[in-house]
Symmetry: C2
Subunit: 352 residues, 2 copies
């Protein structure tokens, strides 16, 4: 393994002083290095594979050029992946590096505090603190020692800026898609797990139903565990109770996976007999189900990018106020929604 | 936003010199700081939220304490997430930070080279270069300027150490599980996409079939696109051709998702009528299907950890030789395998 090439090596190779190399490589106007020498030194540096030492630059500017991202669930869902991607691409645009620490999903306050300390020990310029399944959190006090932002929860103390998905708007949009296709008997399969998304998506469903001048009908709601099995059982229960929906809005894509199976067993075709919409745009489910599942995407990429952009603002402006942002959720159209049939009329005529 | 606390602030607060603080915080034996003073200074540093400056330490040791990870597909599958998690946890154990850059999946050589240069510009101590779907790669020349390892492909030039999943062993193990349960007519649904996994898994299937003294029967192979639709079509085709397997090994979990649907439509129960095994242990499919899908896990976490451990060895030992490692794939048992029924006998008796 070759030793890393330093500025001294370049100076020696070029037969000039360290100062001359430094001025040449930094295009310094004060350096009085003529253009020819400057180009020659740059060419030598390139050929020798020299890279300027960011550590030294960091000491001069009191900046490491590094943003710390503390996240959960890296390994179990692609959600964290999209946050990372959004943050990383925004960081690259600002010439910043993203350093990542994964917190255990059930980490306690002390463990989270230690994760923050580990990032501070790396002298990050700022910290993105990403969580899932929380309304509000009380971030570790140490988070206050550098600019910081939260993803996925708001700060109980109101000091730290935050961004969360607008679950309510996303759910309302999903139902509006069904209403626009002509549906009136729209079932909702709520989750039995009490997280912010559960409450937001139920409110959004009710918003859109009322907005269309329809009644919120308890017979059209069938809750379940937010998994494929839960969606399956909730759908079977709904059909057995005679809920008779023309469309089903599942709390998430995993439940929608169970809806597909239940409808297949009951010989109801999607979307000809029943339209289905999910939530999460969870890979690979939404694209693997066939027909492809129309669903609502969580803005993970956008939240990651927003976090970095907000941090760079905080880094440049000490006086910036904390803000809480709700980021809109976009419906992703595939093939699981069609206009409702008139099932009874068709059934009668086909029997005649 | 408070200014970052420096060693000067601690010295001022403690009323001692910078040198005394430095010796106290570094537990230096030469510093001749008495124990009481040392503890007092440490307490003050803690209270003031002082963190030693890694940048300065990095300049002294010519090490940034940072490992660069170049990866693809962060956002689209949880696979990269598990590589990141394995690498990050191993990095933490070595007191290293993981800096991540995501490459576009179809990035060309120039783009990949630029990604490597971006990491070198951060003065990373070493680079993990992770790819998917390749046998061999020719890594950018610049990768040679620091210790580096490859994940997911071997180096065509043989200079850089690498780790890949042992697809062949994993597939053979999957089939051995079916054979151990008593199956003899074991179908395989190969992928139509030519990647290393396609070839390795087919070889592993044939290994285990022959090892059990069985014949590799072309009638029991039904290829498809490596997606749910492909697995569905391949299964329907297999059954329509009268392949009559008691067990199906699907190339991947997405294909297995289609196998489930095809078997449900044909009223064949899993595992009572047909056993099914997949490959990838892809979240959330394998755990969402019901019965839960027995499948083979790719060692992504382990490969990420291996990469960091190997880098630390290279960092400490200039003379270490490049090695190519195949990492075993472990079968994850859920509920989709049972002993084969004698279907014809039962069918006859139930009709009687």
């Amino acid at each position: 393994m070759a030793r890393r090439v330093g500025i001294k090596d370049v100076a020696q190779e070029a037969g000039v002083s360290l100062t001359t190399v430094s001025h040449a490589l930094n295009d310094s106007l004060n350096g009085r290095v003529n253009a020819e020498t400057r180009e020659r030194i740059k060419e030598i540096a390139r050929r020798m594979n020299y890279h300027p030492n960011r550590l030294a630059r960091g000491l001069r500017t009191n900046s490491s050029g590094m943003i710390g991202l503390l996240t959960e669930e890296i390994a179990t869902t692609p959600h964290a992946g999209r946050i990372i991607l959004g943050a990383q691409e925004a960081a690259s645009r600002h010439n910043l590096t993203l350093a990542i620490i994964n917190s255990a999903l059930q980490a306690d306050a002390d463990e989270r505090r230690n994760d923050v300390l580990a990032l501070l020990d790396r002298h990050v310029d700022g910290i993105i603190y990403a969580t899932v399944y929380h309304d509000t959190v009380t971030p570790p006090e140490e988070l206050g020692s550098v600019p910081a932002v939260l993803i996925g929860a708001t700060d109980r103390t109101g000091r730290v800026s935050s961004v969360v998905p607008d679950e309510r708007q996303g759910a309302a949009d999903a139902v509006r898609h069904l209403i626009a296709a002509g549906h009136r008997r729209i079932a909702f399969l709520p989750s039995l797990v009490d997280v912010p998304a559960t409450r937001g998506r139920l409110l959004g469903y009710e918003d859109a139903i009322r907005e269309a001048g329809l009644e919120v009908d308890p017979a059209l709601q069938s809750p379940g565990e937010p998994e494929a099995r839960g969606g399956y059982a909730a759908t079977i229960d709904l059909l057995d109770r005679g809920g008779d929906p023309t469309a089903i809005f599942a709390y998430n894509d995993r439940m929608a996976m169970g809806v597909y199976r239940a409808l297949a067993e009951r010989r109801r075709r999607i979307p000809q007999d029943v339209s289905v919409i999910g939530f999460d745009d969870q890979a690979p489910i939404a694209g693997s189900l066939f027909p492809g599942l129309t669903t609502v995407a969580l803005p993970h990429y956008e939240m990651g990018a927003w976090a970095v952009e907000t941090l760079t603002t905080l880094l440049n402006d000490d006086g910036a106020h904390a803000e809480s942002v709700r980021m809109p959720c976009r419906t992703v159209e595939r093939e699981s929604i069609a206009a409702p049939r008139k099932p009874r009329a068709r059934a009668t005529s086909s029997r005649a």
